[in-house]
């Protein structure tokens, strides 16, 4: 299955990655290379085969719904590109 420029632009939107005009062509080509590789899967008969998500067929352990993490807000916010008064700052969303 080969993808075109419109699909690449849509993927960039979904993945929130800006694909500049000068990169559209090379990105499309290399992603098509990968999709050509993975298209080999289409020839395999997998009727009735259960998908394997965890290699040991394990399910996630559950734990009690109690707070176990300490409050590290100040430490975490010290890492942020912009934070103020305990809040993360981003460009204005609503005018």
């Amino acid at each position: 299955m080969s993808i075109d420029r419109a699909t690449i632009e849509k993927l960039g939107e979904l993945a929130k990655i800006l694909i500049s005009e000068s990169n559209v062509e090379v990105t499309t080509r290399s992603i098509n290379d990968v999709l050509t590789l993975v298209d080999q899967l289409q020839a395999v008969d997998t009727a009735g085969v259960r998908p394997l998500a965890n290699p040991l067929d394990a399910t996630q352990r559950l734990r009690s719904d109690v707070v176990t993490e300490p409050d590290c807000r100040d430490q975490f916010q010290a890492l942020a590109p912009a934070a103020e008064n305990g809040l993360y700052l981003v460009p204005k969303v609503i005018e």
Binding site: M1, I3, T7, I8, L11, G12, L14, A15, K16, I17, L18, I19, S20, V26, T27, S30, I31, D33, V34, L35, T36, L37, V38, D39, Q40, L41, Q42, V44, T46, V49, R50, P51, L52, A53, N54, P55, L56, A58, Q60, R61, R63, C72, Q75, F76, L79, A80, P81, A82, Y88, V90, P91, K92, V93
Partner: protein, 484 residues
């Protein structure tokens, strides 16, 4: 000093033949002198290392020291280290200083190690050559024109060049075994869930597994003893006791059944590599092991299945890098969508972006069944091949890689040519099986790796085979030429 194995350094420390400060200084001096040539380290933590070494010397003098007390190691820069930058080889995390230690780092600290620094890697562990690192590629100590393999190339080359006697690494599709093979050292990817993923920056969570690298199988066993644990903070951590991986290293190989997959000796395998690997199998046979041909009919599908599953999981895991809470943010964003899109476009390199886009495509409406679900079905077929094979054999053996180390730029701009270098390693990740690589000879003066794949949680059996092989051979003792 740097030619000694960890086991030998440990004995010397316990007998007080030398101090941890002396050992640590020796390796720090080598890093300072040699790393300009090889680019193995992203960060060197000299002061903290010497402080830890002084502490270790006191503990060693007092007696009752923990298992790895005073031994220097380096961590792949994918494991979070409190107060020390953890970049994952990416500009995205160039300024990221974690406020906590990964479980693996905690375990090693509890075992008494001295941390020399953080090693270079392919960006977010996506690569087989180390060429995707934002900090520049690592050079192969055996031939600086060649790649060290990836993604744990800095870890592997640091051991090969004698800049660290043991290191941590991670393996999602071969990232421990392939660089171990290309750099002529020993590395082990444990069973999925054996080593905690807590604090290990996620790439593809159903495949990622941390593991150790060192010169010898005995050293790898020592490191795995400290590294493996059950950790309730990792929701897929294996809830079972950790055995002593050194206990059965010397067990006789008589009657051991080794499965040799026909598919791992196909036309894609370099004939000179095949010869070296066959010779290694004959050595195991001469020690009493029985070689049996086996079939893994779906093995050839592991690369295509992986390049759906790993990118799909990566596209979800890497969505957290948005320029809001930590990591890179672009300059002067016009609005919120512009901030997300430019921060990610500028902060990630080409290979990471390619995989996120492929993963996004495979998970998008209308394609999920054709790609993601199909790949997970093929994943089960690949696993069932191994389950069937292990009914008749104890371990599987073959080449780690189809070729020895290739030159920088050799794979051109087609990503698939690079992906095919992992053709023999990926299946163990898809199946969740433990696997390792150990040096077994040379082609064109470049190291070749023998791969062993074990039954679930039978790491000790593989280590036993590897140790017996290393007792009879000296490939793991070879050092690259021209490194003083």
């Amino acid at each position: 000093m740097h030619q000694k194995t960890l086991a030998e350094l440990r004995e010397g420390l316990i007998k007080r033949e030398f101090s941890s400060v002396e050992v640590t200084q020796h390796f720090l001096e080598r890093i300072a002198r040699l790393d300009e040539r090889f680019n193995c380290f992203i960060s060197v933590t000299e002061d903290a290392a010497l402080a830890r070494a002084r502490e270790a010397d006191k503990t060693l003098a007092a007696g009752g020291a923990p298992a790895l007390c005073g031994l220097p190691v380096a961590h792949k820069d994918i494991f979070c280290t409190r107060g020390v930058r953890t970049s994952c080889g990416s500009q995205m995390l160039d300024n990221f200083i974690p406020p906590y230690d990964a479980a693996v780092v905690e375990n090693f600290n509890d075992a008494g190690v001295v941390v020399l620094g953080k090693t270079n890697m392919d960006e977010f562990a996506m690569g087989s050559s180390n060429e995707t690192s934002w900090y520049g590629a690592v050079k192969n100590p055996w031939d600086v024109r060649c790649v060290p393999g990836g993604s744990s190339g800095g870890s592997a080359a640091a051991v090969a060049a004698g800049m660290a006697p043991g290191v941590t690494a991670t393996d999602t599709g071969g990232s421990i075994r392939q660089p171990a093979a290309l750099c002529g050292i020993t590395g082990l990817k444990p069973t999925y869930g054996r080593v905690s993923r807590w604090g290990m920056i996620a790439f593809a969570s159903s495949l990622d597994q941390g593991g150790p690298m060192a010169r010898s199988a005995e050293d790898v066993a020592l490191l795995l003893n400290a590294m493996a644990s059950f950790d309730p903070r990792d929701s897929t951590s294996a809830e079972r006791a950790v055995p002593d991986y050194t206990a059965d290293l010397s067990t006789d190989l008589s009657g051991l059944r080794i499965g040799v997959p026909r598919e791992y000796f196909d036309e894609g395998l370099n004939p000179a590599t095949e010869q070296v690997v066959r010779e290694a199998l004959r050595e195991l046979e001469s020690q009493g092991a029985v070689l049996k041909d086996i079939d893994l009919p779906h093995a050839k599908l592991s690369v295509p299945a992986y390049y759906v599953i790993a990118p799909a999981e990566a596209s979800a895991n890497l969505s957290r890098f948005d320029g809001v809470r930590y990591g890179y943010r672009c300059d002067a964003p016009a609005d919120l969508p512009d901030m997300f899109k430019r921060s990610r476009a500028e902060g990630f390199g080409d290979e990471v972006k390619r995989r996120i886009l492929v993963g996004t495509y495979c998970l998008s409406a209308g394609y999920y069944d054709a790609y993601y679900n199909k790949a997970m079905q093929v994943r089960r077929l690949i696993k069932e091949d191994f389950v069937a094979a292990f009914a008749d054999v104890d371990v599987v053996a073959g080449p780690t890689c189809p070729n020895p180390a290739f030159e920088f730029g050799a794979k051109g701009d087609n990503p698939v040519a690079m992906y095919l270098e992992d053709i023999y390693t990926i299946a163990a990740n898809l199946a969740g099986l433990p696997a390792m690589s150990l040096p077994c000879g040379f082609v064109d003066n470049k190291p070749v790796g023998l791969q062993l794949i074990g039954q679930y949680f039978q790491e000790a059996r593989m280590l036993n085979v590897a140790h017996r092989y290393q007792q009879a051979t000296s490939w793991h003792r070879r050092m690259p030429p021209d490194i003083d």
